[in-house]
Symmetry: C7
Subunit: 94 residues, 7 copies
């Protein structure tokens, strides 16, 4: 089992094809993009400067939008996961 | 439903045409520009270093001005939204 | 009506011609420049890390000097305004 | 009258000629330089993260040394002033 | 014995071959990568701005994932170790 | 008299020749260098975010080592001084 | 005697030869390197934002590993020392 540390969240990322024309990535505009994933594990939360631990705002099973270029890829049991900091999660999708 | 996290706000952005001459974007001057949007969802607020949560200063339905180049584009139910941090909201338009 | 958020101030900027010779902007020296404006709306003030809100130090009607290159341009009711953070206001002119 | 905001100080700057040879500014060495000015107005002081206002450490009439490249030029009543943050003042000259 | 200071952790890193084609490192994509190691020593924890010491969240013997490019190599008793800050540990692997 | 502000210290710097070969400064290695000076005046100390003033750790007459490239040159009574922040002082030499 | 200020530590550095081939420094890989030294003097500790002084975690006589490129070289009594901040010490070697 993967137990993310501090304010980290383990995500099962949803594959997404980048649109290319002849191999060139097409950036429709300059805005940052988001991507969808499913939360499979959450850390215990960030420690504030006063020693207090901030409770996490997402839970296992949540479908979330996250910043497309955030996170670290992790391989575990022949499956790929993405570990992101909670601050890189944009929204929960109900 | 989209539930933005922390101090984020989901906006329905108002389309705006950039003035171009022969495809070149015309920057009238060096000032930053704002754009208008409607708030469709708000987060629960940012957590301060003392653990306190700051109440959001805008609410669903507010018409707001925001920094033109801020935010992350989000697609949901075949509609595009913009998710921005509260600090990128400039003013409420009454 | 425009209601600026946090520590922002809406200014009616005073137009000022940049001195040019043959279209070249003349920078008399390397110092930063200031410009004059009139305060037309003020926000509720910045929230400190202890949750306290700092009262604004300028009020509607004040004539102020501000950092020439600060702020975001805003159009409202066919008039242009400048929205700046309070920290970009340099002095009140009596 | 000019009333500087926060931790700003209005200075009457003392003109100083830069030594040039054939128009080239001579930098004697890589150290930063200071310049002398007279304090003509002081702000109310900076607000700390705990909401406390720090009293200013200089007063009107003080002759001060300041970082040569700091500050914003301000014109008022046909006279030029320099507005600097208190942190850019180096020393009081008695 | 190696006693790491503050929030540092000494790791026995697991060797990993970078995939190369003709000597060129192959970056499969732009995501950051993680690597696996075993904790052999932990520091006493970081001191917060209020003087409080934060307890470490990993212990000797833990198998951890860490940011591939973090840390400082250390040689001790003819063996190589990696010393990383706790914040560069991504997850504990059970 | 020069009265340095905040956490500043006025030093009488000790002249030191840079070793050159044919006018080229010789950097023996990449380490930062220190230089010796004598403290001639000290400020009242830095104000912390809680409003507390930190007492200075050096006093007039102390011989100190300081970071070679720190500080601002000041001319006073036809003598040159160096004003540095306390944090740029490395050690007191007894 | 050298009395380091704040959270500084005076080290007797252990000389180490960089491996070169024909004068080119050989970087075996991109990791940061550490080096061994002996503590000969310690400062009184860093002052936190609440005014509290953090006790030093190393003492005179400790053999320590430190970040190879940290610190300032100091000459005293015809001997060379290295002064580093405590945060640049990686581990104590028992």
């Amino acid at each position: 089992m993967l137990k993310p540390l501090a304010d980290r969240v383990v995500l099962e990322a949803q594959e997404e094809e980048e649109q290319t024309v002849g191999g060139i990535v097409l950036a429709s505009n300059a805005k940052e993009k988001s991507q969808t994933g499913k939360v499979v594990a959450v850390g215990e939360g960030q420690v504030l400067e006063n020693g207090q631990k901030v409770p996490m705002t997402v839970k296992v099973g949540d479908k979330v939008l996250y910043d497309k270029y955030a996170g670290t890829e992790v391989s575990y049991d022949n499956q790929k996961y993405l570990v992101v900091h909670e601050k890189d999660l944009i929204a929960v999708v109900d």
